[in-house]
């Protein structure tokens, strides 16, 4: 596949790794924000190519992982109502709630359906006027324009039996929370390329200047990640903060204006609780007033009620880069993809799933 295969070339990867080795003089800790990048790193064994001075820590960029457990419970509750068709991206189905997951609700008779696009849920609503169709609007800035467009189209077409359960989160407030933590050991970041394709990177320039860190907007293939690391390490060695853009084939500084416009039309900022991390001010999105009638929580007067988490799961520490999955005593023993204690073990972007899937049972180094 063009723009994929050539970025997986092993010889080119070795050459970039050599360039990183020749640039490094001191130990550095770099966080990749996005769970998709974490999976590339583990799947391709990129850490084995890197010099021992570089420590990669994995960030909170997994929307499935950070969706608060009370919203999973609310989703399960709404999905279990008679007459409801509950639509979700496939990743959410196995995430444990405090009582059960959406998949378990489906096994008990709830009409839970996996959709590829939020527009598929709008189509389902149009085709089933006697049913209530609810879409679980989860995601970071990358997914927000698509979900906003679904609400906007439903509003314009007068599709009254469509609603969304909104669990949107934003990357910059999470980076800020990590950088302002007293035990922060992250010295540079790989910023998520698809989030920045939508929003651009001006906000990251502000963060980089305020906290004096290098941030490099980076793609998702092995060569992208190695080039992003080379750019971060060069900046660290030279004592330069600021933002670099490795993913220039997709990302422009201003981002995608049309996508930003629809998000601003439908959503506004709100405080948001992150699973395992806690409340981060103004780190989420909620529907703006003219679109509130599409809010599934209001329509079904559902939760979110206080909910119990697994006491043993250390997902919060993993998501903040403070622990790695194999440091959890439950990892691969009492917590597996078949029987998960926490969301990072079941999400396709979860760090625990990546370590489990690619057979990494120990922390590197």
């Amino acid at each position: 596949m063009r723009y994929v295969d050539e970025y997986r070339d092993a010889q080119a990867a070795a050459r970039l790794a050599e360039a990183i080795r020749s640039r490094v003089n001191r130990p550095w800790t770099v966080m990749e924000i996005c769970g998709g990048q974490t999976h590339t790193i583990l799947k391709s064994g990129l850490e084995e190519l890197l010099p021992p001075e570089i420590t990669l820590v994995h960030g909170p960029g997994c929307p499935v992982c950070v969706t608060p457990v009370e919203l999973i419970d609310a989703a399960v509750e709404v999905a279990s109502r008679p007459g409801v068709i509950f639509c979700s991206f496939g990743d959410m189905l196995r995430v444990p709630g405090s009582v059960r997951s959406l998949l378990e609700a489906k096994a008990r008779g709830a009409d839970v359906r996996v959709v590829y696009s939020p527009l598929d849920a709008v189509k389902l609503a149009r085709a089933n006027p006697a049913r209530e169709v609810v879409f679980f609007a989860v995601g970071f800035e990358t997914t927000a324009p698509a979900n906003a467009m679904a609400v906007w189209q439903a509003a314009r077409q007068g599709i009254g039996n469509f609603s969304v359960l909104v669990a949107h989160v934003l990357v910059p407030p999470a980076i800020e929370a990590i950088l302002s933590a007293p035990d922060c050991r992250v010295q540079g970041f790989l910023a998520p390329g698809h989030v920045c394709t939508v929003v651009g990177y001006r906000e990251y320039e502000t963060l980089a200047a305020r906290y004096r860190v290098p941030i490099v907007v980076t793609g998702f293939e092995p060569l992208d990640i190695l080039e992003g690391l080379l750019m971060v390490v060069s900046r660290l060695e030279e004592g330069r903060a600021g933002v670099g853009n490795q993913y220039r084939r997709s990302v422009q500084r201003e981002g995608n204006r049309a996508a930003q416009q629809i998000v601003a039309e439908v959503f506004e900022l709100s405080d948001r609780r992150w699973r395992g991390i806690g409340l981060i001010p103004m780190s989420g999105l909620k529907l703006r007033e003219p679109y509130r009638s599409f809010d599934a929580l209001a329509r079904f007067a559902a939760g979110p009620a206080p909910a119990e988490e697994s006491r043993e799961c250390i997902a919060g520490l993993v998501l903040q880069g403070l622990k790695k999955p194999p440091e959890c005593p439950a990892f691969a023993v009492r917590c597996t993809p078949e029987s998960p204690l926490g969301a990072p073990m079941v999400s396709s972007e979860g760090a625990c799933a990546a370590y489990y899937l690619y057979g990494r049972r120990e922390v590197r180094g």
Partner: protein, 86 residues
């Protein structure tokens, strides 16, 4: 969840309303209908990065080539006697 996959636009289904503009996109043999609401500039033959049914960007081919030019330059510096990379 932020996965976006590059595909080539085969044909565009024009609508009066640009918010409803769609294209047929080929992903290494698999074809799908994709919304062009956020990439009004996209044209047949372009590669677009597609996320949950929406094209988020048109791939910049010149920029995509640069990393390989830089890699070639790197190997020429390392192996001047080799007369180019294999």
């Amino acid at each position: 969840m932020c996965l976006a996959v590059p595909g080539r636009i085969v044909s565009i289904l024009d609508e009066e309303d640009s918010a409803l503009r769609r294209a047929t996109v080929d992903f290494a043999g698999v074809r799908r209908e994709v919304s062009l609401a956020f990439t009004p500039e996209a044209k047949p033959g372009d590669y677009v990065l597609v996320h949950v049914g929406f094209a988020l960007s048109v791939v910049d081919e010149d920029e995509a080539e640069k990393i390989f030019e830089e890699l070639r330059a790197m190997s020429e510096i390392e192996e001047p006697e080799a007369g180019g990379s294999p």
